[in-house]
């Protein structure tokens, strides 16, 4: 692909690129931040980035929300409903992971009095 094409693709698939950037930012946060809360925030950023990607991929130019009913003419273009359905599941899963991570953090803080991963390593 020529540079112009790549640039064109980058602008067209802008959402995707942003999502992937967020993915990397989240990963970087997890790896580099010693604080457990920040680590798990990084995790949430990663989760969000994937959701952003999936939901964006369901978009269709000029599409409406996929709800049929009165006032919706037969020829209407709907967006892709599958990514929405998937992401609903994804969000629930993310919520569950978050809940468990927070519970673990609460327990760790109660037991060790710190949330710094480097300090936690020393406690044994």
């Amino acid at each position: 692909m020529s540079p112009a094409e790549i640039l064109n693709k980058l602008t067209v698939n802008f959402n995707y690129v942003v999502a992937m950037t967020l993915f990397i930012i989240g990963l970087y946060t997890i790896i580099s931040k010693p604080n457990l809360i920040k680590k798990f925030m990084g995790l949430n950023i990663m989760e969000t980035s994937v959701f952003l990607f999936v939901v964006s991929s369901g978009a269709v130019m000029g599409g409406k929300a996929p709800i049929v009913g009165e006032g919706v003419s037969p020829g209407t273009v709907f967006v892709n409903p599958i990514p929405q359905a998937l992401i609903l599941t994804g969000i629930v899963v993310a919520m569950s992971t978050t809940a468990l991570a927070l519970a673990l953090i609460i327990k760790l803080y109660e037991q060790c009095g710190t949330l710094n991963a480097d300090k936690l390593k020393e406690i044994k």
């Binding site: 959402n15 950037t21 990514p83 609903l88 629930v92 569950s96 468990l100 327990k107």
Partner: protein, 244 residues
């Protein structure tokens, strides 16, 4: 040094991922494989086959109902996980940070919450029941329901919150999600159909549509109540503090 290596590695990964996504068909196009393969049938036939005007709801509860059953189980799992880590709250042993806080709760907050709480719950029920026709559904309504529990408890304290939402009912309601799915799904087995089929040809034709609606409703309510209770219970488990 170590940081540099990490950043460099992540940069490479970023390049790889971006290369992957820009190779995808342009966003928003209606010619993508994703939009032309399975989706057309959903868009055209869902209302007739799935019985919900909201196509997303139709997919969630009907075409991909098994996924949703798993999803409900994930919520339930999350609750059990949190309880396994932190333990269940006990009205005799625990109090909460809200009660230990030295800040006086203002009258405005108390009055507003007292006034709004019924409406929040009502709204949640609306969302739950109306999922088939408009945006919304069990999960969304459940989240609102859970939020009402949280708001109430944060304002009026733990003890009252636990009294309003007693443990012995919550224990049963927490499992409502998976159980409602099971109840609605297993009916089909007795008609010799596959699990989670709602359109039952073995009953009178006139009632088929009604039964389908009923089964879907059971699921929606189950998800909503179950989800709300789980959120509340997780909140209680996290908020509790040992009494002195």
């Amino acid at each position: 040094m170590k940081k540099g290596v990490i950043i460099f590695a992540l940069f490479l990964l970023w390049v790889l991922l971006v290369a992957a996504v820009i190779a995808l068909p342009p966003m928003g196009s209606s010619e993508t494989p994703a939009y032309t393969h399975v989706v057309p049938r959903y868009l055209e036939k869902e209302v007739e086959e799935g019985g919900a005007n909201n196509i997303v709801t139709g997919i969630i509860l009907n075409y991909r109902g098994y996924d949703t059953m798993g999803e409900v189980t994930v919520i339930f799992t999350a609750l059990i996980c949190v309880l396994a880590v932190l333990g269940r709250e006990n009205i005799k042993r625990h109090t909460s940070k809200v009660e230990l806080s030295s800040v006086e709760k203002s009258v405005i907050v108390k009055s507003v919450v007292r006034l709004l709480a019924p409406f929040i719950i009502l709204f949640a029920l609306y969302i739950i029941l109306h999922g088939a026709e408009s945006p919304g559904g069990g999960f969304q309504g459940g989240a609102i329901l859970g939020a009402s529990v949280i708001v109430f408890t944060l304002t009026f304290g733990f003890t009252l919150g636990m009294k309003k939402f007693p443990l012995k009912y919550r224990t049963i309601l927490e499992s409502a999600g998976p159980l409602s799915f099971f109840i609605s799904g297993v009916v089909a087995l007795f008609c010799g159909l596959n699990f989670l089929t709602y359109m039952l040809p073995c009953i009178n034709h006139a009632y088929q549509d009604l039964v389908r609606h009923l089964l879907l409703l059971i699921i929606e309510i189950g998800i909503g109540i179950g989800g709300g209770t789980v959120i509340g219970s997780i909140f209680f488990a996290m908020e509790k503090v040992e009494k002195e």
